[in-house]
């Protein structure tokens, strides 16, 4: 038998046991040639179920531990602000980066604007002189 098929049958059989039903005979009837290999393992899984059944903690313990945890969580949140997660850090870095980019863009625009104005003033003040020189010439 393909070992992977047997892996799958056993896994699913335990899932079915978990929901309180038992279909070992059906599993075995689907794979009659492999009954000898599968049957003892299915039987063992069925025997294991009650021994490994979930166990619930006592309500008193559950309640007491919750109270202790909530007290610890409250004092922890008072003691220190929560550190930012990686995702939050990325968002913050992206926001700062964007702000710096926008400010840099404004600075360049402002610089260009001033430079253009200075050049314009220079050109206006230099214009008539050169013209005069030409006239004089």
């Amino acid at each position: 038998m393909n070992r992977r098929v047997a892996d799958e049958i056993l896994w699913r059989y335990v899932d079915i046991l978990h929901y309180g039903s038992d279909n070992a005979e059906r599993c075995l009837s689907l794979f009659p040639k492999h009954r000898d290999q599968l049957e003892p393992l299915l039987h063992l899984a069925k025997r294991l179920g009650p021994s490994l059944a979930p166990v619930r903690p006592s309500p008193a313990f559950a309640r007491r531990l919750k109270e202790e945890l909530l007290v610890a969580a409250a004092s922890r949140s008072r003691a220190a602000p929560p550190p930012a997660s990686h995702q939050e850090l990325w968002w913050r870095a992206a926001a700062v980066g964007s702000a710096v980019s926008v400010m840099a863009a404004f600075a360049v625009m402002w610089h260009n604007h001033n430079h253009t104005q200075e050049a314009g003033v220079g050109a206006r003040s230099a214009g008539p002189r050169s013209g005069g020189q030409q006239h004089a010439a």
Partner: protein
Amino acid sequence: MIIEETDDVLVRRAKVEPAAFGILYERHLPAIYSYIYRRTGNTAEAEDLTAKTFFSALRHIDTYQSRGVPFSAWLFRIAHNLVANWYRDNQRRRTVVLEAAEPLLDTAPEEPTRLAEQAEEREKLMTAVRRLSGERQKLLVLKFTSDLSNAEIGAIMGRSEGAVKALLHRTLEALRRILTDMERSQPAGQSRPAWMRAAFRFHMSGEQNGQSRQGGI
């Protein structure tokens, strides 16, 4: 309609809101406690290690990042490490034997012989389970005790789903061999340990004195 918040949402909230951690605790307590109890077999140790698991989770919740690994898997890893340390530090496997018999005293009244047989069967199986490697015990307890999905079990075990299924198959085969060896090596007439015979006598004396076992002893 009430929509339950996912673990990831609750974890984010729990970093600042104690109440959110309380919800996570209530959601995962039964599975974590059950896992630890089945690994240690002892109520006091299970309570102690369960408390340590959740306090550790609370201390390190800021460092938890999902990245495809469920919160439950993270909690189980903490619990597993604590259980592994407990085994290593104390070598107390034998104490498991005693409390494995607890259901004998808690179950509804049935024929004493049948109860004793059930307890004996349980004890034999648990002895065999404890002879498996820690990894195989862990898989059996996760698979039989919890409601975790295949993906979650895979994440906790650090294996693919296919590898976990193959491990279950090998584990059942190994367990069958152990049980066969135990049955061969067990002398006839000594199948029932002394504690069970004592529990049986205690049960019978209760019956004779007209005590009811309905509410447990």
